[in-house]
């Protein structure tokens, strides 16, 4: 059974339809990347899947439960989905360690010492332990994103959503983050990632979903999508992003 199953998902803003009937599946341990031109609805899709944006129509089945039906416990669903943002979204007034432990203490009701232990373990995992006492403003972009990944992972989510995790970073920092996400991929962490970065997509995905104008056009492995695809939209997109790099 798929961990996430999306059926005919649509989202419209002020009459403008951004997602036009998306169907996709993500199984446990699987990692998929969503790519497509700017404005094709990639980030909207992620936000609909954890209900940050309410879908206009369609169904999202998460762990066998339809989370689009009324009365669903949105907090419980969100706490089970880790979300990593393009611009890190770390809480500025908290240290790296406090950023990680806040959710553990307040949402998972862990004791402070237990939360710190868990945070230390996760920070160690991505090489951030020596930065635990620093505030976000004292970190580089790559370190911020690694801290944001730890904050999401520490909650032991069923799936990790990543929204353009390398877009706000320079190539060196981007590589640092790709290495971390690739490590998670090799550990079979379930992930759904939105990105423009073919390098990231190739190293962290089982398959790539190509979105165009709110519709899934294709889903395939990187090698088959990247070079000389039969669909001109896909061919043109990957030619431009790969040349651009």
């Amino acid at each position: 059974m798929a961990l996430i199953e999306v059926k005919d998902l649509a989202k419209a803003f002020d009459g403008k339809t951004v997602l036009k009937g998306i169907n996709l599946e993500l199984s446990e341990g699987q990692s998929k990347v969503v790519m497509g031109t700017s404005g094709c609805g990639k980030s909207t899709l992620l936000r609909c899947l954890n209900l940050l944006l309410p879908p206009t129509s369609g169904r999202i089945i998460f762990k066998g439960e339809d989370i689009t039906r009324p009365g669903v416990d949105i907090r419980k669903v969100r706490a089970d989905i880790g979300f990593v943002f393009q611009h890190f979204a770390l809480y500025r007034h908290l240290t790296v360690e406090e950023n990680v432990t806040l959710g553990l203490r307040k949402l998972k009701k862990m004791k402070a010492t237990e939360a710190v232990q868990k945070a230390s373990h996760e920070l160690e995992r991505v090489g951030m332990i020596e930065h635990r006492g620093k505030y976000p403003a004292q970190l580089s972009g790559g370190q911020k994103q690694r801290a944001a990944i730890v904050r999401a992972l520490a909650m032991d989510p069923a799936v990790l959503f990543l929204d353009e995790p390398t877009s706000a970073l320079d190539p060196e920092m981007s590589r640092e983050v790709v290495t971390v996400i690739n490590k998670l991929f090799l550990e079979n962490v379930t992930m759904l990632c939105v990105t423009h970065d073919p390098f990231l997509a190739k190293y962290i995905s089982d398959s790539i979903i190509f979105l165009d104008e709110g519709v899934v056009v294709a889903e395939d492995i990187a090698e088959r999508l990247f070079y000389n695809h039969a669909d001109p939209r896909i061919k043109h997109f990957f030619m431009s992003v790969i040349d651009h790099r």
């Binding site: 770390l90 500025r92 007034h93 307040k106 505030y135």
Partner: protein
């Protein structure tokens, strides 16, 4: 000895009582005004449009009308409707409403400078609106508002002298009494000014220490 100094000594117990009344009123209105300001600010973020509109109306009304009108309305106007309140009660209510409106506006301004993706992150983690307000918004907004809230506390202290006009026996009322006994108005007002300045200097020094203490490393203050 100078007649003015002699009068000051003679009136010392009343002056001290007035000073105490001034400080008490200032502290009370600063605390209630801050609590009220946080409450109004919280409601300005409500998901209900009607609540937001009411709060905007509240802020606009109290910022847009003079404090003395509110005090006079309650002290001299309400008795016409059979409601009599003491000068102290009127001062506390009037100042609280007024200061709450200003503080809510300062907090809202600081909120505009907040990185809203942090709020999205909090929602995506599963925090409720109230938890997000308490754990993410308030700690940052309060830090950013220290200079404005300090200015407001200073304004509160200065405004206590307005309470003299509704028969509240504050420090300024006592100095006025000293002046009217010996007709040395210049000396009385200069003394009053010096005392206010000394009290305000204490507030400023305390605020500077607080600002240093809560400054976040790596961020410009």
């Amino acid at each position: 000895m100078d007649a003015f100094i002699q009068d000051l000594i003679a009136y010392w117990p009343q002056i001290l009582a007035g000073l105490k009344n001034t400080v008490v009123l200032m502290v009370i209105m600063s605390v209630t005004g801050l609590m009220g300001g946080v409450g109004v600010f919280y409601l300005t973020l409500s998901s209900h449009k009607a609540v937001r509109r009411w709060m905007d109306g509240f802020i606009s009304f109290f910022i847009g009308t003079p404090l003395i009108v509110h005090l006079f309305l309650m002290y001299y106007g309400l008795p016409e409707l059979g409601i009599r309140l003491s000068a102290f009660t009127v001062a506390v209510i009037g100042f609280t409403l007024n200061v709450s409106a200003y503080n809510a506006r300062y907090l809202a301004t600081a909120y505009n400078g907040l990185d809203k993706t942090e709020l999205e992150a909090a929602r995506s983690q599963g925090f409720t609106r109230r938890e997000t307000f308490r754990l993410i918004i308030m700690p940052q907004v309060m830090r950013m508002s220290v200079p404005s809230l300090t200015n407001q506390a200073i304004q509160n202290l200065k405004d206590t002298s307005v309470a003299f006009l509704i028969q509240y026996h504050d420090f300024f009322a006592q100095m006025q009494e000293v002046a009217s006994t010996n007709f040395q108005f210049f000396k009385a007002y200069v003394t009053a000014g010096a005392v206010y300045l000394a009290l305000i200097s204490i507030i400023v020094l305390a605020a500077r220490r607080l600002e240093k203490r809560i400054a976040l490393p790596g961020l410009a203050t």
